[in-house]
């Protein structure tokens, strides 16, 4: 997005960072509100229910969610490494590839989660418990897809030498944001 500016002066570059930073913060506020609303709904269901999971349903076994958590953590770490190497103007694109690979693996782990849930008889239509697990993971995975798109876009920009450090940082912010959302989901929906 910041390509709308020609950043040939020093001043210009500072300004450009400022622009992309402000817009990224606003964007993240919007995404936060989207997930916050869903968590609010979940909190209400959970607080008004005497037992959780309701209706004598069984909790989801933690194996696959833990796997997803580890994978997404690894992807965030590799992006941090990439960012660090980029800041030292010694960009190591293998870290970017690693981030994307872990992101894709995360989606695979989610697919496995869905099929294992279905195998154990928990569907989206199995009451509010199933609804919550599926809706949260669907929406989050859709955002991971967007995140992967952003990573690909970033890769292209870097190849064409059009990216600046702030572009890298902003894509990073979005990616880490998705990691944090997953962590909250893992704790509130699966772990407790």
């Amino acid at each position: 997005m910041s390509n709308e500016f020609t950043a040939d002066t020093l001043n210009g570059t500072i300004k450009e960072q400022y622009v992309s930073n402000i817009s990224m913060i606003v964007t993240l506020v919007s995404f936060t509100m989207l997930f916050a609303t869903m968590f609010l709904g979940y909190a209400l269901y959970r607080l008004t229910s005497e037992t959780w999971p309701p209706m004598g349903m069984e909790s989801v076994s933690l194996g696959l969610p833990i796997l997803s958590t580890v994978i997404i953590a690894l992807s965030s770490i590799s992006f941090c490494m990439y960012e660090r190497s980029y800041a030292k103007s010694d960009a190591q694109s293998s870290w970017l590839w690693a981030t994307s690979a872990f992101g894709t693996l995360f989606l695979v782990s989610q697919l496995m989660l869905w099929s294992s849930l279905q195998a154990s008889g928990l569907y989206a239509s199995s009451g509010i418990f199933g609804s919550i697990i599926y809706a949260f993971t669907w929406v989050h995975s859709a955002h991971i897809l967007m995140g992967l798109g952003a990573l690909a876009w970033l890769g292209l920009r870097i190849k064409r030498k059009k990216a600046i450090l702030m572009t890298v940082k902003n894509v990073g912010k979005f990616w880490h944001f998705l990691g944090i959302v997953w962590l909250i989901m893992f704790i509130t929906i699966f772990a407790i």
Partner: protein, 577 residues
């Protein structure tokens, strides 16, 4: 501030690059304006169908009726009636008022008034319009599905909006359309917020911005924060309708494991109350500017007005519960929401007093934008005051879901915002299209609209107070409402007057845009904000040289001014005695 050059796209030459895929904020503004006027037309026709049914129940709608409803010999059938009031509300709010005030004038005014060449993200801006078009197509497609369009009211409460209440695909399309529109408006909001922060001309502090820009900025902030809330609600509703989740199915989670329809109401109104201010804030800002421009006086307490608008913005996020007093909310909560709602009166009174202070002892020029602005002052006063009865628990329990509510929100949203939109159209016409609209017809348009809307909306409050429910197909089957038939007929005549006045507007507008030969001057209204320092219509990339701002936007009638002008441009040093 502006220490860098924006990237310039070459001047477009083909029709498509000029008018369809345009990066130019002025063209995108015009696109939104036409889009909004189209929405007004469709929503207005629906309003007339509704009004006809209420005034003459069981009678065929003239001319169009037999063509639209052949099975019932031209009478609007009950199920269609529900679709009509649903689509009327949805279209007027999201596809008429929003695109005109925020889409059209947000895009057009922000860069011009802060001295920028374009929005900071032109591509995002273009996408925002294309998403809006997609959304309108999705919404209207619902009308052509087998079971018809959405019919659960513009609020789409479950269970009216789940598969139980609306089995047709129309409701799914409605929900999807609102989601897509939310994405579009959020993209716009990100653009507006960033543009105003980073692209203000050198020398322009926040309080040197015209109040129009203040209104649009606060609106954009509310949009960015609260549209995603509605988006989440829409997503869950779509999941419920298409993938069988059970968020909004009635029942208690603990006993039978399904969801809660009232949750949607919470989500809807957490968004919905700020939405009221999303719609009205740009109009408030514009009116604050116009009153000063045409009273030839500085805006009284401009800083206080800006701060009052800001505090209303903040307060508006805390009061949504007043829409839900009848949902068995705990009395502790209803009292808190009531108190917070009443608190909004304080900043409202401040800027209302500032409006009166601005026109007090001014040398008022009764031009069309001024007439419409004074109209806003009047109808917003009425709408705001009647809101107090709905914000008070005791009176709301009686008035809830009656036509009193309908009258109230039409005074605040339909009347105030629409009149503000018209004021803006008449005012910026020369800068947008390089021509003026006919003043005489503009005044006829104003008085016709004013007469019509007051008959309609005041009448609505009367029948509402008498107990008429807002969504009944034929309320007169109840004995106690039979006596309201004459008032309802009056309301319908008022609606026809209002509708006829809009035909005058549309003809006058189209004539001015396409056939008017006489070019407007660069500064026909004699005001000093930045957009009037450049030629009319505004040229490609607006400013040859980025202007340097030296004074505020309302420097009119300064007694120390010498020369033949009674105003000064924002680029001029403030004259001191």
């Amino acid at each position: 501030m502006a220490s860098f050059e924006q990237h310039m796209h070459p001047k477009p030459t083909t029709f498509i690059s000029k008018y369809i895929i345009s990066y130019d904020h002025k063209v995108i503004g015009k696109q939104f304006l036409w889009y909004g006027i189209l929405g007004l037309g469709i929503g207005g026709m629906m309003a007339l169908l509704i009004r006809w049914t209420l005034a003459f129940p069981g009678e065929a709608f003239p001319i169009l009726g037999h063509f639209l409803f052949p099975e019932t010999n031209g009478v609007v059938p009950p199920d269609v009636y529900a679709m009509l009031f649903t689509m009327h509300g949805t279209i007027m709010i999201f596809y008429a008022i929003t695109p005109i005030l925020i889409g059209a004038f947000g895009n057009f005014c922000i860069p011009l008034m802060i001295g920028a060449r374009d929005m900071v993200f032109p591509t995002l801006n273009m996408l925002s319009f294309h998403f809006a078009v997609l959304s309108f197509v999705l919404l209207l497609a619902g009308l052509f599905t087998p079971l018809g369009a959405a019919a659960g009211g513009w609020t789409s409460y479950p269970t009216l909006s789940t598969l139980v209440g609306s089995p047709g695909i129309g409701q799914t399309l409605w929900t999807l359309a609102i989601f897509v529109l939310g994405v579009s408006s959020t993209m716009g909001a990100i653009n507006y917020i960033t543009t105003i922060i980073v692209l203000r001309a050198p020398g322009m502090g926040y309080f040197d911005m015209p109040l129009t820009v203040w209104g649009l900025w606060l609106t954009a902030i509310l949009n960015a924060i609260f549209l995603p809330v509605l988006g989440a609600g829409c997503l869950l509703l779509i999941f419920d309708r298409t993938f069988g989740t059970q968020f909004f199915l009635a029942g208690a989670a603990a006993t039978n494991g399904v969801g809660d329809p009232v949750l949607f109401q919470h989500v809807f109104w957490i968004f919905g109350h700020p939405e009221v201010y999303i719609l009205i804030l740009p109009a408030w800002g514009m009116v604050s500017d116009f009153l000063s421009f045409f009273a030839r006086k500085p805006a009284f307490g401009a800083k206080a007005t800006a701060l009052a608008m800001t505090s209303i913005t903040i307060l508006s996020t805390l009061v949504y519960g007043h829409h839900m007093f009848t949902t068995q909310m705990s009395p502790l909560l209803t009292q808190s929401f009531m108190t917070l709602t009443m608190t909004i009166s304080i900043p409202s009174a401040i800027f209302f007093a500032n409006w009166l202070g601005t026109i007090w002892k001014g040398s008022i020029r009764f031009t069309s934008p001024m007439l419409f602005s004074l109209g806003v002052v009047f109808v917003f006063g009425l709408g705001g005051l009647t809101g107090l009865y709905l914000g008070t628990v005791t009176t709301d329990i009686y008035l809830h879901d009656t036509y009193f509510v309908v009258g109230h929100f039409h005074y605040t949203m339909a009347a105030s915002v629409l009149l503000g939109g018209f004021a803006a159209i008449y005012f910026w016409m020369p800068k947008m299209f390089g021509v003026m609209m006919n003043e005489t017809w503009a005044k006829i348009h104003f008085w016709g609209t004013m007469l019509g809307l007051n008959i309609v909306f005041f009448g609505m409050m009367l029948v509402g107070y008498a107990g008429m429910h807002r969504r009944l197909y034929n309320p007169f089957v109840y004995e106690f409402l039979e006596k309201t038939i004459p008032i309802n007929t009056w309301i319908t005549w008022g609606a026809l007057i209002m509708g006829a006045s809009q035909i005058i507007f549309v003809i006058s507008f189209i004539y001015a845009v396409f056939f008017e030969k006489e070019k407007a001057g660069d500064n026909p209204w004699e005001v000093g904000t930045l957009e009037w320092t450049i030629p009319s219509p505004a040229p490609h990339y607006n400013f040859d040289k980025i202007p340097v701002v030296k004074c505020g936007p309302h420097e009119l009638g300064n007694p120390s001014l010498t020369g033949d002008r009674d105003f000064q441009y924002q680029t001029e040093e403030l004259v001191q005695a």
